[in-house]
């Protein structure tokens, strides 16, 4: 995760963080009063397409931008509250996992690691990344809000995962195809701005990606399983079960740790290629 901190030395990465945050927040705000799913916590969010796109194109700047943008969206949208705290971390991972996993999955060909969807293999990689990052974001936020006794994990984790993934799957590919060539031309892809040495070297990168997948999807499945089975929180129904129980947060915590370990193992250096003119 070295690049997450080393990027703050680079002026352009700082600006990209600010721009990503501003764009994400600017699109979040008009929908704040739209269709609330859980009042004051989450609503229908088509803007969720941006973290994954900015993560892929701007790397760590996109991740920080997503986290800051979500908080600014809460401030301007008038929904600043306790959910904003773990919303920050959840949205960070929504932008962070895409660029870490892009080259680590083994699906993107080594001779063309460009962060756009120009082949079936890249489309498959994109779909996997979207589902994993959406689930990671969801379990982080839902885990905390369940622990705080505000919303049941079973409901919120599924809602956030779907809310993230649908926007990213439907709107992401055309937006990425449209934006990537322009951003590349301006030299603003993160691998064009940062130096390879500033990026974490990682180790056993593919295993790291697998751990991230297991952590995200496993956390979601096990968390929902525990809360619906052991403690009786119904999947899409509030009126049963118990929140804030030891089983839910203790059961999901190892999976969140697994995501963090997987993130430490992945690199992003494989996306640095020598340009041939």
């Amino acid at each position: 995760m070295r690049e997450v901190f080393s990027m703050w030395k680079n002026t352009r990465m700082i600006i990209l963080t600010a721009l990503s945050a501003a764009i994400y927040a600017a699109v979040l705000i008009p929908f704040k009063g739209g269709i609330p799913i859980v009042p004051g916590i989450t609503e229908v969010r088509p803007a969720n397409v941006f973290p994954v796109i900015f993560g892929l194109m701007f790397g760590p700047a996109g991740a920080w931008g997503s986290a800051i943008g979500n908080t600014i969206g809460d401030i301007f949208g008038g929904t600043l509250g306790w959910g904003s705290i773990f919303g920050f971390f959840g949205n960070f991972f929504l932008g962070f996992l895409p660029y870490k996993m892009w080259g680590a999955l083994g699906l993107v060909p080594a001779n063309d690691v460009s962060q756009t969807i120009n082949s079936w293999r890249k489309l498959l990689a994109y779909i996997i990344i979207v589902i994993v990052s959406a689930a990671a974001c969801a379990i982080i936020i839902a885990w905390y809000l369940d622990l705080a006794g505000l919303i049941p994990f079973a409901f919120l984790s599924v809602v956030i995962t779907l809310n993230n993934a649908i926007a990213e799957l439907v709107l992401g590919p055309p937006l990425l195809l449209l934006l990537y060539p322009r951003v590349k031309q301006w030299g603003l892809i993160w691998t064009d701005i940062m130096s390879k040495e500033d990026v974490s070297p990682g180790f056993a990168r593919q295993l790291g990606a697998i751990l991230a997948i297991v952590g995200s999807l496993g956390g979601l499945i096990v968390g929902v399983g525990i809360s619906t089975g052991l403690y009786g929180q119904a999947l899409f129904q509030f009126g049963s079960g118990a929140k804030g129980q030891v089983g839910v947060w203790l059961g999901v915590l190892p999976f969140i740790i697994l995501i963090i370990i997987g993130s430490l193992m992945m690199s992003g250096r494989e996306q640095f290629v020598e340009e041939t003119e």
């Binding site: 703050w8 002026t11 352009r12 700082i14 600006i15 990209l16 963080t17 600010a18 721009l19 945050a21 501003a22 764009i23 927040a25 600017a26 699109v27 705000i29 008009p30 704040k32 009063g33 739209g34 269709i35 609330p36 859980v38 009042p39 004051g40 229908v44 088509p46 920080w64 931008g65 800051i68 943008g69 600014i72 809460d74 401030i75 301007f76 949208g77 008038g78 929904t79 600043l80 509250g81 306790w82 006794g149 049941p152 709107l171 937006l175 449209l178 934006l179 322009r182 951003v183 301006w186 030299g187 603003l188 929180q233 129904q237 509030f238 009126g239 049963s240 079960g241 118990a242 929140k243």
Partner: protein
């Protein structure tokens, strides 16, 4: 959307050090969540409203009145699904669950009002320098400050482009929510492209002015804690201790409430 939320007034709260205002906001966020019973939440809400009146900032709530109305109405219904009680009223509603919903809605509106008062009394620059003085690295502070400043500009650009397209016959007002979202997407692309395109120029301008040249930097805006700040911090500490003590003693719950 107006260009900024900050209201240029000369009130007691406007003159406070941003660090004090950040701490007031944080303490409010903590203590308002202590109680379930709306009668116990109400005094805290009243204090927040009093703060808004003294800071002459409640007018800004007009900007989000629609959001607050949606949150209040949907919250009053939805939170009943999270709780139940012994005294049945009708359908999913019991006296206890209704009291719980009222409490939750009151908490939500209080949080929103407190956040809005903070933004109305604190300039972006003050907010960021306050956080930097509390330990945030200045580069991160700069990114947040820039983003805060750019949001209204980008939102305004979206609306201008939308109006331009409308004048050319694009119908943005018909269809269901998904169809409307799809219609807005082509409008957003030029805004993003023009925003991102300026990155290099922005970067050069910053570096020409020495951004990042030194690890420590000085600030044009200087903030200092005054006597009023210490009084306010003392008051917040007292409030925090009293509300925490009452919470620990078990006050503020709703008798007979069953939470799911």
């Amino acid at each position: 959307m107006d260009s900024e939320i900050y209201l240029d007034r000369d009130t007691f709260f406007h003159r406070l050090d941003p660090r004090t205002k950040i701490i007031i906001l944080l303490v409010t966020f903590v203590i308002v969540l202590y109680y379930q019973n709306p009668l116990w939440v109400l005094p805290i809400s009243a204090l927040v409203v009093l703060q808004g009146i003294l800071a002459d900032s409640l007018i800004n709530l007009r900007r989000i009145r629609y959001i607050m109305l949606v949150l209040a109405v949907s919250g009053l219904i939805l939170w009943n699904l999270f709780a139940s009680g012994e005294t049945k009223l009708f359908w999913i509603f019991t006296v206890e669950s209704l009291a719980y919903s009222l409490g939750r809605v009151l908490i939500m509106l209080t949080l929103i009002t407190a956040g809005m008062i903070f933004m109305s009394t604190t300039r972006n620059e003050e907010f960021v320098i306050g956080m930097i003085r509390l330990g945030l690295p200045y580069r991160v502070g700069f990114a947040i400050s820039t983003a805060l400043r750019l949001v209204p500009t980008i939102v305004s650009s979206v609306f201008i482009i939308a109006q331009a397209q409308r004048s050319r016959g694009l119908d943005l007002d018909s269809g269901n929510i998904l169809e409307r979202i799809k219609k807005y997407l082509p409008l957003l692309v030029p805004v993003f492209v023009s925003t991102i395109r300026n990155t290099n120029i922005f970067g050069m301008a910053l570096e020409a002015k020495g951004f990042g040249a030194r690890e420590q930097r000085t600030f044009y805006l200087d903030i200092k804690m005054q006597r009023a700040d210490y009084w306010m911090l003392g008051l917040m500490l007292v409030m925090f201790i009293i509300t925490t003590y009452l919470k620990i003693r078990g006050f503020g719950d709703i008798p007979g409430l069953i939470r799911f």
